[in-house]
């Protein structure tokens, strides 16, 4: 009997181990069916819109210019970002921004005779899901360019697949230096880098917030830990006392992390990570009577932070590579269109996704012209490299040899202390500082 009981325990432990893998395991199976269904369903709507008007002009061009019969076929541009799960607020913005971009600028391709389509993929902010989607994307020959990701860790997991298939990725949000430093010829981004962002944050903390000591927490992802490390390096170099450097995957109960912080009594808590973790952390810190100031990178740039943390984050500073859409004068029309189409204010990174889409479309069009037909993926990558300055709604972008914009804009923002709906309050966040810094 005892023997049997122990056998049972052993089996339950095995099952327990199996279940322990579940955060990874369950998403893979759900992701697989989710992605294909996600793809056809939302694409049905966007394609219907641009495809129909093009059907009319396509015929006249076909008759007037029969010289280019090769300019036909379907071209898809994929997006990869978290559309469900804790970071969906930003990820959906990327999909929607790209969708608007295709709607506005897809004409460039449809006039040439192509059919264009958006293929949105949900990477759930998980590297393994992103990598699986990347294989799906690579196997669809119509997809010539990718707008994504939100999370650097997910992008880094997907990039090898993109590279093997010479697929261009234009990222509207990935800030980890490794994206462009790892020798991926096909990786581009329209935002700044964390080595600079960390330094910008540190300088602001030291000179403007006048802090002397800092306690750094990060989320153990490529993005969060990366930017936190850069902040720490700079802080140590410039004489800020680093009282602690902790990583955690905890999402709800931060008690045991806050106890040492309370004892260390830092002037500042720097959080390298995304808003869904930062919200509860900051609020629980204030609940405990910790008075340290808060600072964080662009991962905090979402009104969800305000929803989750409430008064605890009113007036706090954060650095970003993407300011509120209201900061870009050229993006006013985009902001209106976004609100009209998706019934919410354009979230951070959506305008960048619009520009990333623009870069993709222009490159495909140029490559098509050069190739005299539907271009190959290699030709699209080359076209992005060669195309020169792109004038977008969030700025002008010229890529250097690594794929970084030659100069990027970094912002320090302050959360508005107004009352009201988190979405509206967030859009009232003030830009405290704006720096144009060349890519290192």
């Amino acid at each position: 009997m005892r023997y049997q009981a122990s056998k049972l325990l052993l089996t339950t432990f095995l099952i327990g181990a199996l279940a322990a893998c579940a955060p990874a395991a369950p998403v893979a199976p759900t992701a697989a069916p989710a992605a294909p269904t996600a793809a056809p369903e939302p694409t049905a709507a966007p394609t219907a819109a641009p495809a129909e008007p093009t059907a009319a002009p396509a015929e006249p061009t076909a008759t007037t210019a029969p010289a280019a019969p090769a300019m036909s076929g379907k071209i898809k541009i994929a997006t990869q970002s978290p559309l469900s799960g804790p970071q969906a607020a930003l990820g959906t913005g990327i999909r929607n921004g790209a969708d608007l971009g295709l709607q506005d600028m897809g004409k460039m391709l449809t006039d040439m005779g192509f059919e264009v389509e958006l293929a949105p993929f949900d990477d759930q902010a998980k590297p393994e899901v992103g990598a699986a989607n990347a294989k799906n994307i690579a196997s669809d020959p119509d997809i010539l360019c990718i707008v994504g990701h939100l999370n650097s860790g997910v992008a880094l997991a997907s990039l090898p697949t993109y590279k093997d298939n010479s697929l261009a990725m234009v990222s509207p949000a990935n800030t980890n230096p490794k994206i462009t430093e790892s020798g991926y010829q096909n990786a581009f981004r329209v935002v700044g880098r964390d080595d600079v962002q960390g330094a910008v944050g540190e300088e602001f903390a030291r000179t403007e917030m006048k802090i002397k000591s800092v306690y750094i927490i990060h989320d153990k992802t490529d993005y969060g830990q990366g930017v936190a490390e850069f902040f720490r390096q700079q802080a140590e170099k410039n004489g800020i006392q680093v009282l602690g450097f902790e990583g955690t995957e905890e999402k709800s109960n931060f008690e045991s992390i806050l106890t040492p912080i309370q004892a260390a009594n830092p002037d500042l808590i720097y959080f390298g990570g995304i808003y869904d973790q930062a919200g509860p952390l900051f609020r629980q810190a204030r609940d405990r009577g910790i008075t340290a100031k808060f600072l964080g990178p662009d991962g905090l740039d979402s009104s969800e932070l305000l929803k989750l943390a409430g008064d605890a984050v009113k007036g706090m500073y954060y650095t970003s590579v993407a300011a509120p859409v209201s900061q870009f004068p050229d993006a006013a029309k985009f902001a209106e269109d976004y609100k009209a189409k998706f019934n919410e204010d354009a979230p951070p990174f959506s305008a960048q996704a619009y520009d990333a889409m623009g870069i993709c479309i222009r490159a495909i069009a140029q490559a098509a012209e050069k190739a005299g037909g539907k271009p190959s993926r290699e030709q699209v990558v080359q076209a992005i490299r060669d195309a020169g300055e792109y004038k977008g709604i969030t700025g002008a972008y010229t890529f250097n040899a690594k794929g970084d914009p030659v100069t990027s804009t970094y912002f320090v923002l302050q959360v508005s202390d107004k009352d009201g709906e988190p979405g509206e309050v967030w859009n009232a966040n003030a830009v405290v500082k704006k720096l144009d810094i060349p890519a290192p």
Binding site: L9, P86, G244, F245, G247, E255, S256, R288
Partner: protein, 392 residues
């Protein structure tokens, strides 16, 4: 004991008050001894390690730094332990009766938290949440959470477990894992559709500032407050009440006798006129309701809920139940509290004691579980496992 017969002198037809009290409060004493004992043992070990390592660090006095946050770490560990303990009760009840691990229990906890959050959101939308006295709000939310989770647990038992009751043991286990994933993703869908959002805020009345139990002098002349959040206090009190209630139910009522009878020998219990199906459903109802209550209390304390909050606490509560001796109600409490202490100590001290080489928060699980494996090697049947009668 609990679910077995040996704690109670067999024919429990007429019981004295003294026996009832012993049945109800005896286990509580056991839990109390383990709380104090494990706190002392872990404190001594930590201080000892700090003392041995004091030469390695020049910039801080390690022993002093360890001692200043020690009371707070104990309080944190206690709160964390009670969380695991309340969830572990549900695992252990079901195991005691069916010898089956209900892996969906963590999700039942999560659903309880979400129903509380939905109630809070509804009250906040109508603007009365801040007008309610906090304790009344907690009471209402807990009742709602218990009702939803209890019903859910019974439904799951009826649909996913009862048809498999005579199947090989692994089958209902797989079914339980399936239910667990189903509930996670189902709740993800519901949260997104209803506008609660994946990360849902749990609106509550203002509980006021945390209680300051003491001021502890730190090395640099500052004092560090020893804090107990009001919500954490509510959690501890509620969990203790639940344990007392459960012990009363199982050890001192007719229903409890029936539950223990089913646990000990299902066919014979059935022959004695006990409706086995009803008793098993009831066990799920009680376990589910306890999980739901724990979920609501947890949600109130941390302030946000998401569809995945049940998974890890569920897994750890299962571990706690095994650590305490699965099938044993005070064992679940003891296991939960010991695990809670282990985690709190490692998370708070590892970084300090290793000079920042290891981040405590990220390695808490590894160290806590390594210690756990050690305990199980020396006590394979769990800390209170001896009391579990073998079914021979």
């Amino acid at each position: 004991m609990a679910i077995t017969a040996d704690a109670i002198p067999a024919p429990a037809s007429r019981r004295t008050l003294r026996m009832t009290l012993a049945g109800v409060f005896g286990p509580l004493g056991q839990v109390f001894i383990f709380v104090v004992g494990s706190a002392i043992v872990l404190s001594v070990i930590t201080v000892l390690v700090a003392f041995l390592l004091r030469g390695t660090r020049t910039n801080v006095d390690l022993v002093q730094a360890t001692l200043t946050i020690l009371p707070q770490v104990i309080v944190d560990g206690l709160v964390r332990g009670f969380l695991f303990a309340t969830i572990a009760l549900g695992y252990t009840m079901v195991y005691g009766v069916l010898e089956f691990i209900n892996f969906a229990h963590g999700e039942i906890f999560m659903v309880g938290a979400f129903s509380g959050a939905a109630l809070g959101a509804a009250l906040a939308a109508s603007g009365i949440v801040n007008a309610l006295p906090p304790l009344l709000f907690v009471l209402i939310a807990v009742i709602v959470g218990m009702a939803v989770s209890g019903t859910l647990a019974v439904t799951i038992e009826r649909i996913a477990y009862r048809p498999l009751r005579n199947a090989p043991r692994l089958v209902p286990l797989i079914s339980a894992i399936g239910v667990s994933l189903l509930l996670q993703d189902g709740m993800r869908l519901i949260a997104n559709v209803t506008g609660l959002g994946f990360n849902a805020r749990f609106p509550t009345p203002n509980f006021g500032p945390p209680l300051q139990l003491a001021q502890i002098p730190a090395a640099d002349g500052r004092t560090i407050p020893l804090i107990l959040d009001v919500r954490a206090l509510i959690f501890i009190v509620a969990a203790t009440l639940m344990l007392i209630g459960l012990n009363y139910l199982v050890n001192a009522t007719k229903l409890g006798t029936a539950i223990r009878a089913v646990a000990q020998d299902r066919p014979t219990a059935s022959l004695m006129g006990i409706n086995v199906n009803q008793i098993i459903a009831l066990t799920f109802l009680i376990g589910g309701a306890l999980g739901g209550a724990a979920g609501v209390l947890f949600g109130i304390r941390v302030g946000t809920v998401n569809p995945y909050i049940g998974f890890l606490p569920g897994l750890k509560a299962f571990t706690a139940a095994v650590l305490g001796g699965i099938g044993n109600i005070p064992g679940a409490m003891v296991g939960g509290i010991v695990l809670g202490f282990l985690e709190a100590f490692v998370a708070s001290y590892l970084s300090l004691l290793t000079g920042g080489a290891f981040s405590g928060a990220s390695y808490a699980d590894i160290v806590a579980f390594a210690i756990l494996i050690l305990i199980l090697i020396f006590r394979p049947s769990g800390l209170l496992g001896e009391a579990v009668a073998q079914k021979v």
